[in-house]
């Protein structure tokens, strides 16, 4: 396997374990297996699904559950402009491809050197991720009682650690470093004052200082 396909596989396998967590929590919150299957196959954005079943599981209203899930899903819109050029040109296949535009697929695509590798990484990651996410969800529903508390296994650290590795290539140039540092700072500042999901949208504003730094540097080079 190519390097990026292997990494996509590992990332998807780790996400599949998070899918088990989702299945466990969904089962505990009273969702049926068909409901879990429909969510994992069609919602297909992990943080949102976890948020929805956590809210319902802790006795919150369904409106609150859907609301917090959609706030977390909103960030996927920001990945659209990043990966749009890798997707098919005609609108129907493009619309279907949009389903797979999420954190993991975007991350694997953008660290490749050229568009051909980026598209390959996007699709292989999407394929593995969709498979593992759905299998993991079913396993979680079936084995919920055996697995117990997912946190005991440290599963919640796998996702952020994976993204540390996926962030590193973006830190090799100064605009990327400014955007990353700014994004982290804006997220920390907004976590206490905004519901989950919103800090990620606020963090996207950090592209502006990153862009300004890049423009100033290119001016220096050209003059």
């Amino acid at each position: 396997m190519n390097g990026h396909r292997r990494e996509g596989f590992v990332l998807a396998a780790a996400t599949g374990i998070v899918g088990v967590t989702f299945g466990v929590l969904a089962d505990a919150a009273g969702l049926t297996l068909p409901q879990v299957l429909v969510m994992s196959a069609l919602v297909f954005t992990g943080a949102s699904q976890l948020a929805a079943v956590s809210v319902v599981g802790s006795g919150g209203s369904e409106v609150a559950a859907v609301g917090s899930a959609l706030l977390l899903a909103a960030r996927n819109a920001l990945y659209g402009p990043v990966v749009a050029r890798l997707l098919p040109d005609s609108w129907l296949p493009k619309a279907a491809s949009a389903q797979f535009v999420i954190d993991e697929t975007t991350a694997m695509a953008v660290i490749q050197d050229d568009d051909a590798h980026a598209a390959d990484a996007f699709w292989w990651t999407a394929l593995w991720l969709w498979s593992f996410w759905n299998i993991g969800s079913i396993v979680g529903v079936w084995l919920g009682a055996v697995i117990g508390e997912p946190e005991v296994w440290g599963l919640d650290a796998a996702f952020p650690a994976a993204f540390v590795a996926l962030l590193v290539p973006h830190l090799r140039h100064q605009p990327g470093r400014v955007a990353a540092f700014g994004g982290a700072a804006l997220a920390v500042a907004s976590i206490p004052i905004a519901p989950a999901g919103v800090p990620l949208l606020v963090a996207a504003l950090a592209v502006v200082p990153g862009w300004l730094v890049g423009r100033r540097r290119s001016d220096e080079v050209s003059t």
Partner: protein, 104 residues
């Protein structure tokens, strides 16, 4: 959860993705590449924010617990150029160990 809520969630989540690819995507693709320098930085800003929220966010509070130790260990593994799968295992194992020892 009711099926109605699930259908709304499916439609809303897909709607966000469609808006990104077709609405915002038009800014970056096609004839206008004016916004490309900005959109190219979205992954850097968002991934840093994802790491941060997944590591220190509680229920609208900042929480320092076993996750920060585990993700820190994972970051050291990344810095030491450890294979990807090992990075994930290190982060999970350290988080689990800290939790087991201290119930942080």
């Amino acid at each position: 959860m009711s099926w109605t809520s699930i259908v709304v969630l499916v439609a809303g989540a897909f709607g966000c993705k469609l808006f990104g690819v077709f609405g915002l995507g038009r800014l970056a693709g096609g004839t206008t590449t004016r916004f490309e320098p900005l959109t190219a930085l979205i992954p850097a800003a968002l991934f840093a924010a994802l790491i941060t929220t997944q590591t220190v966010a509680g229920d609208q509070t900042l929480v320092l617990d076993a996750r920060i130790v585990g993700v820190g260990a994972g970051a050291i593994a990344v810095w030491r150029r450890t294979p990807f799968v090992v990075v994930l295992l290190v982060a999970m194992a350290v988080t689990a160990a800290v939790r087991w020892q201290t119930w942080l």
